[in-house]
Subunit: 415 residues, 2 copies
């Protein structure tokens, strides 16, 4: 099944509108609230932070995903995380959802919420509700409205993150195929080590698919996409991935185990991976995207663990910033991942656009041309590949370098 | 049993000599090799890195600790780690031990080895053996010789690390007590997340104790000392803790389960904790020591895991550098530690020398006086305390802040 990349984000799929506004939650002179609205009720699926300390909107959304299994709208704010806010935080969620439901004429238990920003402070409810009122006036299905929404949910992000795809599925009326669209936006730059992270990601599709199958697709793809990136090893209190499917494409509803489900999952994988890599490359202070591919592992889970260990290593991250081919650090990070392997047989490579260097083989760090290594390490995207020589499982993780700017950004975040 | 802190390090105990020299392994204009020699065979115990990729000297020493259970000397070099060096690296160990054994007239299988520095390059054997020859001439039991040795094993450390204690044990002749001494040195600044780390630590004692009991004492204390510090989350290929006990104090040999064993373990705990905290406070680029104490946990292991998660968080470390009381980050790091707890009941405090602030209680971040927080965060040693309200287990972990200098040091380590 062919997956085409198309322009746009959350408004690429039929039946979805977006809006944003400058609600003055924390930042000045920029938009900081976004809203998504579907013209009909959507099947909804999602995954949320594994952090024991869960933000109020995470608790709110999870209840909807698990029990209501349907949604019409999403309201998101940047600047304040509504985390560690106790009962007051939950009350903020209820009041925001009630206000939004009344304003849009939809059920309150179909209003999803998202927050990102500083942990601790309470949301200014008056500004939130004023923002909802403003956004109701400007809801639009233009691609530009989706892009503007993706900008409004940024915190320390330096670029907005969106992506959309189109693919064909059998039509509901049995006559040939129809075009199905899927698009998403995400934000995330620090506190990024999703499991799930303050990663927020919202994906919309006009595909007809029920919420149970949608959840299965989400669970299938998240392990190899959002859960394979790390900026700083800190798993946020607010991580949220939500997927809304409204069926506006009029495809034959996707059935379990069908070719259509495989195609849908492939499309979802493409969107999630693209958004995940955009986040890793835009890590706080980052100047390089790092990709670690592990092949020849005995199990998929071991491949993932090994790849994640390397992109999470402070020493590997600092060496990439310094363009220093100190490959022993990669070996070291593989070694403490908690997965057993034979250091005498594995092979480690630095892979550039037009050149490849062997760093380690036969139990020894290899001699390599420092100029060639420097040339590869000067590329914007740095790739390492390690063959564990144990089996055929593989996984890829993405991260970024550790820079002065990461320290600067996080040494004084609240002010 | 009273434990007195006394001056000195590895030569504080009777019967131990030390020496060092500038062997030119990597650095110029400084000492980079050290040697310890006991005047008689010692019981030996130790723990080593859990990294799958183990440096050659780790493999060498572990074999001696597990099978020979006796040692006379230790030869250590800084600059090159002799890790990821395959069979060549093991041959270097054999040749260094053989040369040292012949020079000192001791068995080669009682020569322990230690290396720290860059992973990958081979050791220059000619310089190593020349260094051994030089050091043989200057072996001394002066306290100064121990201090000089602790300087010679430094890499990115900014201060040398040593510590010694004295305590009384029943005399071997049954007549009252004798004074027993124990002293140690360590190095470690980056790639510090011992489990074990390139942490090297060497402790000598003139106590009479067999190697099995010595190993039990080491295993008992390491979990709450060296394994509770973290600089950057990277567990090295070379981490080594060795304890040598030569019996020169003429105490009645320590018996299992005795009050003497409890006293010995307490002394070892004091030395190990002191050296561990010195390493955490001298983390690469660090300007603050961070202490995280977890109380009221349901199990000791959960208390350790929670405390370690906080001192390992990049965001907590950056906030300490910035003196920013962003307490949500501590809560977040507790939350992703992998230990279940109730966020609604835990209490989190910032503890200064003369002031204490409550950061979090009743499920909410508390309002606090920013000036008082800034005053506490401006102290050199920063302490947090969290009561989990689940039981009575507690643990303390130590780390340091994340600074521009950490990035600078590790962006260009090899050159």
């Amino acid at each position: 099944m062919k997956i085409d990349i198309i322009p746009g984000g959350v408004t690429a799929a039929a039946g979805f509108k977006a809006a944003c506004c400058a609600a003055g939650i924390k930042y000045r002179g920029r938009t900081d609230m976004a809203m998504l609205l579907s013209d009909r009720s959507c099947a909804v699926a999602g995954t949320f932070t594994s952090n024991v300390v869960k933000a109020a909107p995470v608790v709110w959304d999870r209840q909807i995903v698990q029990n209501v299994r349907a949604a019409r709208a999403v309201v998101i704010n940047a600047g304040i995380a509504n985390a560690a806010t106790g009962e007051t935080g939950m009350a903020m969620c209820r009041q925001t959802a009630d206000f939004t439901a009344k304003a849009l004429g939809i059920p309150a238990d179909q209003v999803l919420l998202g927050s990102t920003g500083v942990i601790g402070p309470n949301l200014p409810l008056d500004r939130i509700t004023a923002g909802v009122t403003m956004m109701k006036q400007t809801l639009s299905n233009n691609l530009e409205a989706g892009t503007a929404a993706s900008r409004a949910i940024m915190t320390t992000d330096t670029v907005n993150k969106e992506c959309a795809v189109a693919f064909e599925l059998p039509a509901a009326n049995g006559q040939g195929t129809v075009k199905v669209r899927m698009g998403g936006m995400s934000k995330g730059s620090g506190m990024i080590h999703p499991n799930m992270c303050t990663m927020l990601a919202y994906i919309t599709t006009d595909c007809a698919i029920d919420s149970a199958l949608l959840q299965q697709a989400v669970s299938d793809v998240v392990a190899d996409t959002f859960n394979m990136i790390s900026v700083d090893g800190d798993t946020s209190t607010n991580d949220t991935l939500l997927v809304l499917a409204n069926g506006a494409a009029d495809n034959e509803p996707v059935a379990a185990g069908s070719a259509a489900f495989a195609a849908f999952r492939e499309a979802l994988f493409t969107v999630c991976r693209t958004l995940a890599i955009l986040m890793a490359g835009d890590g706080e202070g980052a100047t390089h995207l790092m990709e670690m591919k592990v092949t020849g592992a005995d199990t998929k889970e071991h491949a993932r663990t090994l790849a994640r260990s390397v992109v999470g290593s402070s020493l590997v991250k600092a060496m990439i910033y310094g363009k220093d081919a100190n490959c022993g650090r990669i070996l070291c990070a593989l070694g403490y991942a908690g997965v057993d392997f034979d250091p005498a047989v594995i092979e480690l490579y630095l892979v550039g656009k037009d050149d490849t260097l062997c760093f380690y083989r036969n139990g020894c760090v290899q001699a390599f041309d420092e100029d060639r290594a420097l040339a590869i390490l000067s590329e914007k995207e740095i790739r390492f590949c390690c063959d564990m020589k144990m089996g055929s499982a593989e996984a890829t993780a993405w991260g970024c370098d550790l820079t002065y700017d990461y320290v600067k950004i996080n040494g004084d975040y609240r002010s």
